[in-house]
């Protein structure tokens, strides 16, 4: 729930308010981006506890760094960039012992009770297939599919975000899509591609 008087404000205005120390503006910005950031992190690391901690760290960094935001990129790109930086740090620090994949395992188990059982089973099958196919992708491929197909970011923003040339972004999204298509056509035969 966004703070009422700030609901209509643009992202840039909220960052400016945050830079002035306006906690209400920050809260609105937080509410606006928390799900996006959380799901972005979860799209790469399947650990809900770590994702929660990273989300908190990201938003604290937004609070502290709001004054440095120059408006040269979209606010979403800036915040996703912070999230990515912290996420990659966390991945590097993570021990070999893999934690649970509760979040992703549970993610597709939600079914609408209004559906009839046959349709529900069919949808669940489709969802399971997509889930398994996406799980075979590399983290980089999952990431660009998330950013391009789910968040709908332009390739220029993705390039800024992942610190890669725009042509790399375009080809990476294309090959991620190809990889996903192959995984969907040959379920359970795909290997993780680095």
């Amino acid at each position: 729930m966004e703070t009422t008087q700030y609901q209509q404000q643009a992202d840039n205005e909220l960052v400016a308010g945050t830079a002035r120390g306006d906690m209400a503006a920050f809260e609105t910005l937080f509410r606006r981006f928390e799900t996006k950031v959380y799901q972005y992190i979860l799209s790469s690391i399947h650990d809900d506890a770590m994702a929660q901690e990273l989300l908190a760290e990201v938003m604290e960094a937004v609070w502290k760094g709001a004054k440095t935001f120059k408006g040269e990129s979209q606010v979403s790109t800036w915040i996703f960039g912070i999230a990515r930086h912290k996420m990659l740090d966390a991945i590097r620090k993570r021990t070999r012992h893999q934690t649970s994949t509760i979040a992703l395992d549970q993610a597709m188990d939600i079914a609408d009770p209004r559906d009839n059982p046959e349709r529900q089973a069919e949808q669940q099958d489709e969802a399971d297939t997509v889930k398994e196919a996406i799980a075979t992708l590399s983290r980089e491929h999952r990431e660009v599919l998330y950013l391009a197909f789910y968040e709908g970011l332009p390739y220029q923003d993705i390039a800024t975000l992942i610190d890669a040339p725009v042509n790399t972004v375009k080809t990476r999204v294309f090959y991620a899509k190809q990889q996903l298509k192959r995984a969907l056509e040959n379920p359970r035969r795909q290997q993780n591609v680095p």
């Binding site: 809260e27 908190a56 597709m108 969802a127 996406i134 789910y150």
Partner: protein, 244 residues
């Protein structure tokens, strides 16, 4: 799904733009370039349809990822406020959190009550008065009878010095109210808790409230209950180690 894995960027130069054609983020010039190519390339039209279908699946999948916990914003705010307070207590910095409307008004209200010039003198007088009364109470049994009064044997009535009540353990926590929360609601909330303001409001609108409590679990429950009143309370959080 159509088999279309052999399409390549070299023979279809706009194929890598298709994801962004689909998400509507291409420039007008790029979009027209893709449109021109699509008009004459069956393979790319198939590729586009295939991509559209995959996009639906991908969106559907990512949309089912879990939501973050509802209280994470409160936790982060509490951390920020506590950090801000411990760094420069009661001193607004150029990046200290502020709640301009309500915080400023309520601070002015408290200031008007407690900052009058006679308040310190009155406080000193009251303390001195209490000290005199206490001294008199303690020393009264030892004083000699005055005048020609005769002391008679009789029942001894012990004049017991009233003992100070055992102080209950009082616990403190931070609270910040929403901008629009009226003062009478704030007073009622604090009264209902049998609490009192022991510090604040800080520049960021943060109060330190003390409540009688003998159990840390009770304080946690109080804070949880307060955090449910999102219409009037921005956040409530225990004091951090640095702010205690």
């Amino acid at each position: 799904m159509t088999e279309q894995s052999n399409i390549s960027e070299s023979s279809h130069p706009t194929v890598t733009l298709l994801p962004f054609y689909l998400n509507g983020t291409l420039s007008e010039e790029e979009r027209q370039e893709v449109d021109r190519h699509l008009a004459e390339c069956e393979s790319c039209r198939q590729e586009l349809e295939e991509m559209r279908s995959l996009q639906v699946s991908v969106k559907s999948y990512f949309s089912t990822l879990p939501q973050p916990p509802a209280d994470i914003c409160n936790k982060v705010q509490a951390r920020i406020l506590a950090e801000s307070q411990s760094e420069k207590p009661h001193t607004p910095t150029d990046h200290a959190p502020t709640i301009e409307s309500f915080g400023t008004r309520f601070q002015a209200y408290l200031h008007s009550i407690f900052s009058t010039q006679w308040a310190p003198a009155l406080a000193v007088s009251l303390i001195l008065g209490q000290a005199v009364v206490l001294f008199w109470t303690l020393t009264l049994p030892a004083t000699a009878p005055r005048g020609n009064e005769v002391q008679r044997p009789g029942p001894v009535i012990e004049r017991s010095v009233p003992q100070a009540p055992v102080p209950s353990i009082r616990r403190q926590f931070h609270i910040a109210f929403q901008d629009k929360t009226p003062e009478h609601i704030i007073r009622r909330i604090i009264r209902d808790l049998n609490g009192r303001i022991v510090d604040g409001p800080t520049a960021e609108g943060l109060y330190t409230i003390e409540v009688p409590d003998s159990d840390a679990g009770q304080l946690e429950t109080i804070i949880q209950d307060l955090n449910k009143k999102r219409d009037v309370i921005r956040m409530a959080a225990p004091l951090t180690a640095s702010s205690q």
